[in-house]
């Protein structure tokens, strides 16, 4: 039932923890020292940088478009359809395709990851604005606020929960796919997982733990950011 198994010396959590902090060497790694805090930090920072860059690009493209379309009330097919289609993009396929079509390297991986992040942000920005209660919007318009001001000062604050949910979703997707960036030449924590021949079973497990932790910390931070950005009035009414 299981596929071809790599013959591995069984990994242990203890071994993984050690791997994170101190360079290890073992028979598997052919006597080379691998791992240790320095390398871990370097790869973590790489992954963070990659994620944040891609996220920024996604947001720059998707947020204005989604907010605009939502405000105007048009383009639902595009906004929602793209969101649905985006979920179907196979992550590994995307990286592979990018590598084959336009080559490896930082810039290209950022593009690939940004492509992944655009659909959730676009859809949620659109839906979030659309779902805002019409009454405050009408009132604002009646008071003479410009369309842009209405969008930024009335609709967006009220749409924060949904918009942020989209950004969080994008972040999770991007950080998960950034894990396999080593396949395309950008070294991230995923290297421990993908190149397990180099790092050994302890490295493999350590990589898994680290990636999981990174994702959880990011998610947690964004949740906190969302709480901070959500106006008190909204929070009270949601409670």
């Amino acid at each position: 039932m299981t596929g071809a198994l790599l013959t591995l010396v069984p990994a242990s959590f203890g071994g993984a923890i050690e791997f994170i902090f101190e360079p290890q060497s073992s028979s598997v790694t052919g006597g080379n020292k691998v791992g240790g805090l320095d390398q871990v930090v370097e790869l973590t920072l790489n992954q963070l940088e990659l994620t944040l860059l891609a996220l920024t690009v996604s947001m720059l493209v998707a947020l204005p478009l989604g907010l605009y379309l939502g405000h105007r009330g048009t383009g639902e097919l595009l906004a929602v359809g793209l969101g649905n289609a985006g979920r179907a993009i196979p992550e590994l396929g995307l990286i592979a395709f990018m590598a084959a079509a336009i080559g490896v390297g930082w810039r290209n991986i950022v593009i690939a990851l940004a492509v992944l992040g655009i659909p959730p942000i676009l859809t949620n920005a659109f839906v979030g604005i659309r779902q805002v209660d019409r009454a405050p919007v009408d009132a604002a318009r009646g008071m003479g606020m410009s369309e842009l001001a209405i969008l930024l000062r009335v609709e967006l604050p009220l749409a924060i929960p949904t918009v942020m949910a989209g950004i969080r979703g994008a972040t999770i997707a991007i950080v998960a796919t950034a894990t396999i960036a080593p396949l395309a030449g950008v070294l991230t924590l995923g290297d421990f997982i993908i190149n397990r021949n180099v790092y050994g079973p302890d490295g493999l497990l350590a990589g898994a733990i680290l990636v999981a932790l990174l994702a959880l910390v990011l998610e947690f931070s964004l949740a906190g950011l969302q709480r901070a950005l959500t106006s008190k009035g909204l929070k009270v009414s949601a409670a």
């Binding site: 039932m1 790599l6 993009i89 196979p90 592979a96 994702a215």
Partner: protein
């Protein structure tokens, strides 16, 4: 596998006639298509090797079906359990949320000490990923049943169980299936990573022997994956429509 090849060969051949003319000019040597920098679509290779995509596709289907089924069964049961017990809902939401946030590829290997490498780990990890969306949508669907309908049902003498199964769940079906659709489409996409955990699936056509494969293989596998996701989506939507005839009547 041969049926697969037989089905796809003719259209590919037709496209091939057109494409070949375009591509022929760009190649001048006699190396096989995929060896030449690998960034061209090789119709010849496609025609000959389409059969090799059969097994990975079936494996992929299997992984997705089992994972989503297991995930749905678990999440649905959890939601029914937490439906009336409001104090349970936040912790369950948080727990399923963690399982959703942890990237699947990491999850495959976190399970390493427990279930080892291979399909089992992949299925467990993918199921865990689907829990949150299905759980949340089921709860939301149940909560969105109008209070007046629930009041009337209770006042007429239906027991709590009867209300749940005869009134609330049928009315929650659209939202539950919506969650199921999202979960399924996502799972089809993520299951491509199974290859990295020796789990098979379409991922083998993206990455094998420690290297990414070449463009033709990637494009075909990608197309299959996307089509599979679309097919699942459409089928589930069709099932939802079948289960909810009253919504069609209302719109019509």
């Amino acid at each position: 596998m041969n049926a697969f090849a037989a089905a796809l060969a003719p259209p590919l051949a037709a496209v091939g006639e057109v494409g070949e003319g375009f591509f022929k000019e760009r190649s001048s040597d006699t190396l096989p298509c995929q060896a030449r920098e690998g960034h061209l679509f090789c119709f010849d290779w496609a025609k000959e090797n389409i059969g090799s995509f059969g097994t990975p596709t079936l494996q992929h289907l299997e992984i997705v079906a089992i994972s989503v089924a297991a995930g749905f069964a678990t999440a649905f049961a959890l939601a029914l359990f937490a439906h009336r017990r409001h104090w349970l809902q936040p912790p369950l939401l948080a727990a399923t949320g963690v399982l959703y946030t942890v990237p699947s590829i990491a999850f495959f290997f976190l399970l390493l000490p427990i279930t080892g490498l291979g399909r089992d780990s992949v299925i467990i990890a993918l199921s865990a990923y689907t829990l949150q969306i299905i759980y949340r949508n089921t709860l939301a669907g149940l909560a969105n049943v109008p209070d007046s309908v629930r009041d009337a049902a209770r006042g007429m003498g239906l027991t709590e169980r009867q209300i749940l199964w005869r009134v609330e769940l049928p009315l929650a079906t659209p939202e539950i299936v919506a969650g199921l659709r999202i979960a399924t489409v996502s799972t089809v996409a993520i299951a491509t990573l199974a290859v990295l955990a020796s789990g098979g699936g379409l991922g083998v056509k993206f990455y094998t022997g420690g290297n990414l494969t070449f463009l033709t293989s990637i494009v075909i596998a990608g197309a299959i994956a996307i089509l599979m996701a679309l097919a699942f989506d459409v089928v589930l939507l069709g099932i939802q429509r079948l289960l909810t005839p009253w919504r069609r009547a209302a719109a019509g």
